[in-house]
């Protein structure tokens, strides 16, 4: 939005969304701590599982050729062209299109991050620690983006989506089962085993669907 519609409205939208996110997190954070830990793990586990399987499903379909890979360059060009040609509506001295698109984008993506940070923090019993971890991740990502921008931009987007899907599915399986009353054999040590299981299953599905794709073609 900044590049196509002007930085003033884009930054105003970003600031407004950040303020709204801060209010939501301040209200939801303490509320989560009064919910019994088993109930929280069950609900969080179920949601992470559903989110994770959505990510994993799309990444596997793309990796196996059943769905087109996302071309980030052409998506950016298409979105930028749409933003440049959108009508101008000035409200409160701001370009309303630039403001609302920036607000919506930051709020929705921020909500997803806030949800993950709050739930990870509350299920492990320390929201402040999860917030520190999230803040440290932001710093690391910004520095990595500046220092190793070239090599990072060559990491395929679908590989990142696959990794996110695997992680969300693994934590969702682990916490969902614990919330339902399960004691994992070996306790927390079973988490890497669940991770390995999800990776092996997902990669075997990629292979099976690739073969099916070749057979159909």
């Amino acid at each position: 939005m900044g590049v196509t519609r002007g930085w003033r409205s884009a930054l105003a939208g970003t600031a407004a969304a950040s303020a709204a996110l801060a209010v939501i997190v301040a209200a939801l954070g303490p509320a989560l701590t009064v919910i019994p830990i088993e109930v929280l793990r069950l609900v969080v586990g179920a949601l992470l599982l559903v989110f994770g399987l959505q990510w994993l499903r799309k990444a596997i379909l793309r990796a196996s050729g059943w769905r087109a890979l996302r071309d980030e360059g052409s998506v950016f060009e298409r979105e930028a062209a749409a933003a440049r040609t959108a009508a101008t509506d000035e409200r409160a001295g701001l370009d309303w299109y630039g403001f609302t698109v920036s607000f919506k984008g930051v709020l929705l993506e921020g909500l997803e991050v806030a949800f993950i940070v709050l739930t990870f923090g509350s299920t492990q019993g320390s929201i402040p620690l999860a917030v520190v971890g999230a803040a440290a991740a932001v710093v690391v990502v910004v520095i990595a983006g500046v220092v190793v921008r070239g090599p990072l931009s060559r990491v395929p987007e679908n590989t990142l989506a696959f990794a996110v899907g695997v992680m969300l599915t693994t934590f969702g399986t682990f916490w969902g089962a614990e919330g339902a009353g399960v004691d994992w054999p070996g306790g927390d040590a079973s988490l890497p085993v669940v991770l390995a299981f999800v990776v092996v299953v997902s990669l075997s599905y990629v292979t099976a669907l690739r073969r099916r794709r070749v057979a159909v073609a």
Partner: protein, 63 residues
């Protein structure tokens, strides 16, 4: 209100409601088995593998 509900449905359930339904059923079975001496921990990983494959197979058939 309808758009609000649609947004949350898309955000949580996504484009295949069967995945969410399968996970809900698997969690119910896990909770029921956890009250017995049966190894309830095995239900969810198996359900994840089955639900994912069924959803992938459906998508592949549709294309």
């Amino acid at each position: 209100m309808r758009r609000f509900g649609h947004f949350w449905w898309d955000f949580v359930v996504g484009d295949d409601w069967r995945v969410a339904a399968g996970i809900a059923i698997a969690l119910g079975v896990t909770a029921a088995l956890a009250t017995t001496s049966a190894p309830a921990w095995i239900v969810l990983p198996v359900a994840v593998a089955l639900v994912l494959w069924m959803s992938l197979a459906r998508s592949a058939v549709r294309r």
